[in-house]
Amino acid sequence: MSMMDEEKCIAKILAGDTDAYRELVERYQTGLIIHCENILNDRQEGEDVAQDAFIKAYENLKNFSASKARFSTWLYRIATNMCIDTLRRNRRKIPIEHIEQHLEATVPKHIEKDEIAHLQKCIEELEPPKYAEIIKAYFWEGKSYQELATTYNTTTGTIGTWMRRAKHQLKEKLS
């Protein structure tokens, strides 16, 4: 969805077409959940906070100015604030600067079509095939490490190891 399409989508929502918000949720949910999971270090909490962030963004949509920033950046800022609240209420400490790094790093990027095609091709070429499967399941389908561990009848630690190897292999292919 281009920025113009996004502006039109937001305009529709503000005009009363609530269901149009589904498009934004579907577009950003995977990345936002990962963003929150990275900060909170807990998948379920990450999903809960991401869900609430979408709701809060919807409720505050009239305050959002598409001319000043992308919706995704604003949404991620809301989610980050909520993650900070969650960390505070669960008595967990994390340096705020680490959270700010997460904000920049996982906000959706615009990448060119040929880069997309190249990335997708490199993912499909990962060996063994399960590496490609877990990359797609985590980053494209929004599966958690625990769900992947269940699927592959293994532990989250092993999934983490496969993920690291898969990403390392991908980076070498892309370099």
Partner: protein, 425 residues
Amino acid sequence: MKQLLFEARLIAARPTTYTPNKQFTDRVMTGIHSPEIISNYVRTMDVNKKESFIMKVRHLPKLAIVAIAIGVLAILGGTTYAAYKLLWEHPSVTIQEPTTNQFGRTQVIASFENCTNQSAATTFEIKAGSTLDPSEIEKILQARCEIEALREWSGTTTPPKRPNPSMQQTEGTYSQTMRMTYPVGLEVVSIDATSLALTGDTYNTPENPLVLTDKTQYIVDNHESTIDQIKPGDTVLYVHDVTYDFVTKKTATGYNTSSTVSNRVVTHVVKVDLPFEYYGPSKQNQIAEREACMGNPQDSCVQGAAIVLYENYPTAPILPDDNGEVPFDSREVQGIIIDHSGTTLKIQSSSGRVFTLNTPRDIVSDFNRTRSAEYNNVTVEKGDMIQVRYAVDKASTSLELGPSEIRSVYLELNMIQKGDPIQKY
């Protein structure tokens, strides 16, 4: 940073044929459509990360009572928790002599051993209107630690195999089983080899009886035991496998998957020592934690339910600069209102400092005039406790906050039980 930027590219490369998680989308849309939106943003209790009490304190219908509800156990598809050994170290809690704090609340300082997420000494206060004896705080925290220990441990064994996740891209049905810990302790009514009936908590007793099998394990005194060691009248916690049946259907834009719960089987029954009340909201909600305010360590902030008076999510400045630095600090403070004049509010924090809040509109009068009726006619007045979240320059020491710096203002509440009328802190 580089790692995270790489991940952003992976996310951005998702093909359009990959459909997002429909359940998640449906939950968000339900939350938007429903007037009873529950929000993680405000919590009254922190017994469990997921199954915490969640309060809805915005846009309630007239005369609505703030709902204190256990979250998501049966509603949201949970995830299994990290695997740990079967037996865990028994957590312990020690509290110092109670004192009365500057807010007139009885408080204790508690220290912990073998308690997940609790290491440093922590201050807890008894909420106003509570009938709790200070000596009970130790039991409440003990129960909290025991539930957390079980939560962390559950999910050690592998649930039954389920079909490949690519089934979500194929029309058909498949099942997925997830292991979850019920976050409330209850009293045994009856127990035999195939069923467990529980009672205790008015709002949180599950549908009886629960299913037990020959694979159900029984734990007493933190070690494996037998069913005959658990008797009617005992307090138990339990872990269960919940099976979801998914149906995937092709649509014009891809695939959509819906789910229903088809089965719940108890995998572990854990006998615990304290009366069941201490493992549930009736006691857990009687205390609140008081901790150093974020960014203002010389002040203390109490955790708890609150009503949103004002929120501000500006679009700028929120982006990092070219060096990846974010130019501001996120901070919070709580204080008693000592003066209100139009768009200016003065609050005095626990350290005695006076913060001046300058808001774009008169948030106090606005609330009292237009939203008080939604909250049983509670009004904001001098002497009330306010929490402020704000963003300022990292080097800022100013106690005067402008409209562009204030992110949110809350009226702190003192809520104990579900169904209680709204009461200010």
